[in-house]
Amino acid sequence: MEIPFTVKPRPDTGLWNAKVGIWLFLASEVMLFGGLFSAYIFLRIGADFPWPVHVLKVPLGFINTFVLIFSSVTVLQAWLALKMRQYTRYKIWMALTILCALGFMVIKAFEYSDKIHHYGVRMQDGSVLEGHLANGEYNVKFGEVTTVTLATRATSKGLFNINLVSPASDAGFLKFITSGNPEFKDTSGKTVTLNSAEISRLVKDAEKNKQPTIKLTTMAPLKFAINPSKIADYTASKVIFKDGTEIEGKLEDDTLRLEADMVDLRRLFPLNEDRIKDALAAVQNADAWRVLPAEWKEKFLVHNKKETDKFIKKHKGHNPMENADFVRDAFSMPISLHADGGHAAEPEKKADHKAAVSTNHDAPHAEEGGHHDHPEIAIEKKDIAFYSNFTPKYNNYYAIYFALTGLHGLHVMAGALVLTYMLFFGKRIYKVNPEHQANRVETVGLFWHFVDLVWIFLFPLLYLM
């Protein structure tokens, strides 16, 4: 016996199995995205930071909306072609749909990588500077490193003393050495050159002897430039890596150099501040204000004045400080050396370029233009409360942005995979029973429209409002 109603609808419900199934699945998807949207509302209402508005590139989001709507149309055309038993036309429309899905993901990838290279720095008092890292990187530099201590973490073990993964030191720290050779003397005075094989041998031996650490002394002092994401903690004389390895030396430089493209001073005054004067006064004590080059301070005041005048002209009698849009526009300002870069309040001349570059900057690359059209600002570590690129870590807006679009992207990819399967492996079933194949495409189509439907909400929520 075969399972009934796989193709023909059941008389009393009027539905074939897969249709019931996909709608049930979509119901659960509604709950999934419902939960995420509910989290969005919850986080936005409860946010204790100014919720970013209009920070994503609207044209890209708009193109993606267009692409998804178009693909929804094409998948329906493919289904209708099957209904009319025109297999070639079906294949064309289906291929177009899959191309749309790929296009969507490519645009998404550009957006993501843009975010990943963009940084924000929150100072101790809450003022914010945004921009790109100078040279695209930020490293903690350590010099005069003479001792390295490898950890075996012999005590970190799972149940029954079984470990599925090793908790001990690995060779990860070696790649941060910028000068000197990794030649060491161990406790017995023997010379070893460290590489990953050597380290795993040392760790294994030490584990056997129940030695928690292996102390090694360098033959000649080493220099390190370490990516902070690998560091668990560091002081002026010591770095502890996440795998437990410790190096001792001297902290040389942990200043963060930012090619700033935005200064945001909204966190300086309380939410219910109702006088611009007080707000402006507060702003001028900000940490970010201190590191801002002098001419940009002037420009900020001009920018603020201009926004205020604009608001007063437009809304007579209203208190501008009660308007979140005004506060956002007036107390944050894009910084760009290019004439029309960003939404700078007024045109800047190329000549300003050099003047704006802070003095302690030693590299000549600021001349190169292109990427470096923003003034470079050096921020000392002690001033930084928190910094991150615009990934989920930066704030809950980006967190929910990545969660929502990431999950949506996974749906797009899953949909594209199934559509591809339908395109290349549909012929067999089509030959046996064309209606069956039409039903299968309708089912995938329903899923695909749902993905489109979710995006219809995502686009305004994340890009526009």
Binding site: L15, K19, A27, I41, L80, N323, P460
Partner: protein, 110 residues
């Protein structure tokens, strides 16, 4: 339910459907443009822009659901369980929102 299944398979009907799909697709693009434009119009407060944007998005979403996903001519059973889903989603929204309606939170937020 009064439709005979075969009505939906005639070439004329399918051609009409194909045209309708293009039309709705066009309207969806038009409404997207409208959404973008309206977000930059000043309605006095940002929350009005948000409400307008969401209403438009809901309208577009219902076009997709009704026409593209042909819920318009779908069977009652599907409506039944979608109704439950919608109720629970609204419950999830409303009650986490209600969370803030409390002496601890109301001040300063609403």
């Amino acid at each position: 339910m009064s439709h005979d299944h075969h009505d939906h398979d005639s070439p004329e009907y399918l051609k009409k459907q194909s045209l309708l799909v293009w039309k709705i697709g066009g309207w969806l693009i038009v409404f997207t443009c409208l959404t973008v434009w309206l977000q930059y119009v000043d309605f006095g407060s940002h929350s009005r822009n948000v409400i307008i944007g969401l209403l438009l998005a809901a309208f577009k979403a219902s076009l997709v659901a009704l026409i593209f996903m042909h819920l318009k001519s779908e069977r009652g059973l599907i409506y039944k369980f979608l109704a439950f889903t919608v109720i629970f989603v609204i419950g999830l929204f409303a009650l986490t929102y209600l969370h803030y309606v409390s002496p601890l939170y109301t001040e300063g937020l609403f």
